[in-house]
């Protein structure tokens, strides 16, 4: 109890001292972060393997490289970003100076998830540091090896008065949330998102909530089915499906489905071989609770490929389900696993109506060679982000605000 209070108080004192205000200080911290990533790549990959059996191939790209790029982007642009923004003046103020000054909020709390336990906690942290805040990082207890590693490494590289890592679960997070922060950044599920925002309301703390949802993927008849299958399969089964912006389910006509399913089956063999459980390029489900949750979803519809499970190994085979109905269990919650249901629709209007009957997702995908189809879906739906003819790639663009969907 007192240690959380102490940590928060120490950071607030450091913030009030003004040391984070200068560009020099912030750049020093950002460069130290870059060194942390460069000098500990091996240890990071090892921790990710222990937590998620994440293949090195994936870890290097989606965790290490992505984070390093974010740091470099901040370093390269910091001076520009810190500059006051001069604005157009009114007649009465023509002789005055009018500008928007960027200021740090103060002490930020960043709560990370377990699926990309390095990247998703460090990316917002980098932003907080660049903006001149002090910050407490609370990595997820569900990925304990990654969290432990971060709690060891961060104090070795960064200013200990300004930045701290607090590890723990529900109890520690609840204690943290009783303290007053000047900004809270949370990545995780909607249920906890509501708890965070309610706690933040007590102190009038602004929040950013990166949540999730069921990301629909509409596949049109005009698309190149082979390329489409590759891109969808890659995005769905990356990190064993445990990606907030993975395509959650496919909507297509029966005719398209008849071509898509064999294409997906071919892809899966190309990617993971005849027995995916032996592939070094496939991760594992994070824990028993999620394994059991996902196993129960396999009974929806019919298994077109996959469906095998191994509880001891926390392994679920990359699975495609067909003949899935809107009321099936697999369509009631965000899957967050290696299961891809295909729901039949008659046409694009039915697909759009289907999507709009559900909560706004974090991402929405359309595969079509017809630009009109793409624009039609884009205009008649809403989602955090949108990508046509690919998945996930919208996240690689640093200048594209990764705006949240509030659901």
């Amino acid at each position: 109890m007192s240690s959380t209070k102490e940590v928060a108080a120490r950071l607030r004192e450091a913030f009030n001292s003004g040391k984070t205000r200068t560009a020099e200080f912030r750049l020093k911290q950002l460069k130290a972060m870059l060194n942390l990533m460069k000098e500990n790549e091996g240890a990071l990959l090892e921790a990710l393997k222990k937590d998620l059996r994440k293949p090195n191939f994936e870890s290097i790209i989606s965790e290490v490289l992505f984070t390093k790029n974010e740091i470099v982007c901040a370093i390269n642009n910091l001076t520009e970003w810190m500059k006051p923004e001069y604005v157009e003046k009114t007649l009465v103020t023509k002789l005055d100076t009018c500008f928007i000054k960027k200021e740090p909020f103060g002490v930020a709390l960043i709560i990370g998830p377990w699926n990309y336990p390095i990247q998703l906690v460090l990316t917002p942290f980098i932003g907080a540091v660049a903006a001149g805040n002090c910050a407490i990082l609370k990595p997820s207890e569900v990925s304990p090896n990654s969290s432990q590693l971060l709690s060891e490494l961060l104090p070795k590289y960064l200013d200990k008065d300004c930045f701290a890592v607090v590890c723990g679960g529900v109890k520690e997070t609840t204690e943290l949330l009783e303290e007053k922060f000047d900004y809270i950044f949370f990545t995780g599920g909607t249920h906890v998102g509501k708890i965070i925002m309610t706690a933040a309301a007590k102190h009038l703390t602004p929040v950013s909530l990166e949540l999730g949802g069921k990301n629909p993927c509409y596949v049109d008849k005009s698309c190149d089915i082979n390329n489409t299958a590759h891109r969808i399969a890659w995005a769905r089964f990356l990190n064993m499906g445990q990606t907030c912006i993975a395509p959650d389910y496919v909507l297509c006509t029966k005719a398209v489905r008849e071509e898509l399913v064999p294409a997906l089956i071919n892809c899966l063999e190309e990617f993971y071989g005849k027995n995916p459980q032996e592939s070094e390029d496939l991760g594992r489900i994070i824990n028993e609770k999620h394994f059991n949750r996902l196993k129960a979803l396999l009974s929806s519809g019919k298994v077109a490929v996959g469906g095998q499970t191994d509880e001891k190994d926390k392994y679920i085979a990359p699975t495609v389900l067909v003949d899935v109905k809107e009321t099936d269990p697999v369509m009631q919650e965000e899957i967050f696993g290696p299961i891809l249901p295909i729901v039949d629709v008659e046409n694009i209007d039915e697909a759009i109506a289907f999507m709009n009957r559900h909560e706004k997702p974090l991402a929405l995908y359309v595969y079509s060679a017809d630009n009109k189809v793409v624009k039609d879906v884009l205009e008649r739906t809403s989602s955090g982000g949108f990508c046509s003819n690919d998945c996930i790639m919208q996240m690689t663009l640093f200048f594209l605000a990764f705006w949240r969907s509030w659901r």
Partner: protein, 489 residues
């Protein structure tokens, strides 16, 4: 209450019908709102006179003109602001369309305040309409004449389904807050702000909270005290001090303390005469409750000028307080009335320390000739907004975001900031199904070779200048071609 469910349901059905999608439709609604204002100027002035003893000129200047200016700006800029906003691409997406598309959020709840009942209810409404949302507007019940007039006029001019007005107090607002909205904008105090945010959290509804605080006003020595006092008195006593960005209290250099008091007294007489109660330019306190609250703040301080009051008419004279203790009642809460405490400091550092010991205010004022001192104050304090060498004027510049920070609020609006606040900024990447060769590096099975290629394609380097980026772009295209050749073997 089912009535709230029905009201919100109607707005949501109207939103889902997509009629507010068209920019033409939104412009028509804004033009209709403009007609509402011009055709009902007298009635609006009358309602404000009944609620706050506001005179016709003040109604024009403080309530109507700002709205008309905002409507003109929105009409001029709507097409530009609603258009897709292209952004910088990376190597992997050089051939693609990449942009941010502003979209309406859905059904917006706007809870207005009683001090500028038309301005504060209708200015956010303008932004919400321009951004393509449906709106439920809940004007403040405390300014009851204005609320009744808003309820009568809005359905006469605007689309009856998309834009609904709900009147009522705590009970009605509580019921309304149980419904799901896509954004809630609240203007008022921080106690209710917390209640609004907590209710919003149940539905994960984003909020904009325009709250308040004690806006400090620092006066350095070596200033033109005449001008300074005039500007401060104007900011403080307009609307009888019931302005969220009124200078709440003064921190002045010890050496000019007496002169400031004298000059303020003279300015008050200039503005309102010997007996402000008789002045047609001086407002009244909104209610008996606030009248009593403000009077209770006099305790412990010396009245240097003013202090007269009359409960029957909710009149409190423009009042200057001296010998004010930092721990007195008047220094503990936002005054929101015509009491102006003056405290002294030895230097600007003391003033900065004093300000930083308190919650971040909505506005901060500093009067000083020395630009270096002004820069120091801005650099070492924080507030929603700042006006140096005047009061309140930053509010009038629509290219500046108007909003608070910390206890004084979150989010901002006015001009483009209104449009953006009430929009969802959707990240869009439009690719083609071609160029699959480049994608192959990311598919399993992994290999050290693939990792090398990916690193070459997307690793950012520290401190590459713009020319370097162009070079990288060309190199990227070349690499893509090379890869096609190599990977095909």
């Amino acid at each position: 209450m089912d009535q709230m469910k029905n009201t919100v349901g109607k707005a949501r059905a109207a939103f889902n019908s997509r009629k507010a999608c068209s920019l033409e439709f939104r412009k028509q609604q804004l033009q209709a709102l403009r007609r509402l204002l011009t055709e009902n100027e007298d009635r609006i002035a009358d309602a404000l006179h009944k609620d706050l003893n506001k005179n016709k000129l003040d109604t024009q200047v403080f309530e109507i003109m700002g709205l008309e200016g905002e409507i003109a700006l929105l009409l001029e800029k709507l097409t530009e602001w609603a258009a897709p906003r292209p952004v910088e691409r990376n190597l992997l997406t050089l051939m693609d369309e990449v942009y941010i598309q502003p979209e309406p959020l859905g059904v917006v709840l706007i809870i207005g305040a009683w001090n500028y009942p038309f301005l504060i209810s209708l200015q956010p409404l303008l932004g919400a309409i321009a951004a393509g949302n449906a709106v439920v507007l809940k004007p403040s019940e405390v300014s009851e004449n204005s609320a009744a007039l808003i309820k009568e006029l809005i359905p006469k001019y605007l689309d009856k389904d998309l834009y609904q007005v709900v009147c009522g107090g705590v009970a009605e607002t509580t019921e309304l807050l149980k419904e799901k909205f896509d954004h809630i904008m609240y203007t008022g105090n921080s106690t209710v702000g917390k209640i609004v945010m907590e209710a919003a959290a149940k539905h994960l509804t984003p909020v904009t909270l325009e709250l308040g605080g004690k806006s400090p006003c620092y006066i350095d020595k070596n200033v033109d005290i005449d001008t300074v006092c005039r500007r401060i008195a104007w900011g403080k006593f307009t609307n009888c001090g019931q302005t969220c960005i009124a200078p709440d209290y003064i921190l002045c250099d010890k050496s000019i303390h007496e002169k400031v008091i004298e000059r303020l007294k003279e300015t008050i007489k200039e503005f309102y005469g010997e007996d402000p109660k008789k002045s047609p330019d001086y407002c009244r306190i909104i209610s008996t409750h606030h009248f009593k609250r403000i009077l209770s703040l006099l305790e412990g301080s010396k009245v240097a000028y003013g202090g007269q009051y009359d409960e029957a008419s909710c009149y409190i004279a423009p009042t200057i307080l001296t010998d004010v203790s930092p721990t007195s009642k008047v220094m503990k809460e936002e005054i929101f009335g015509p009491l102006l405490p003056i405290l002294t400091v030895n230097n600007v550092d003391e003033a900065i320390q004093f300000i930083n010991q308190r919650d971040k205010p909505l506005a901060l004022y500093a009067f000083c000739h020395d630009k270096k001192v002004l820069k120091k104050i801005v650099a070492e304090t924080s507030s929603g907004g700042v006006t140096a060498n005047d009061t309140m004027i930053h509010f009038t510049i629509s290219t500046l975001p108007f909003g608070g920070v910390g206890n004084s609020g979150m989010g901002a609006y006015h001009g483009k900031f209104s449009f953006d606040t009430f929009s969802h900024h959707r990240a869009c990447l439009i690719k083609s199904l071609k160029m699959e060769t480049v994608n192959k590096v990311r598919y399993p099975p992994g290999s050290p070779e693939k990792v090398k290629w990916i690193k070459r394609l997307i690793t950012k380097q520290v401190n590459f200048g713009k020319l370097g980026l162009v070079f990288i772009g060309l190199l990227g295209a070349l690499l893509a071609v090379l890869m096609k050749v190599l990977l095909l073997h």
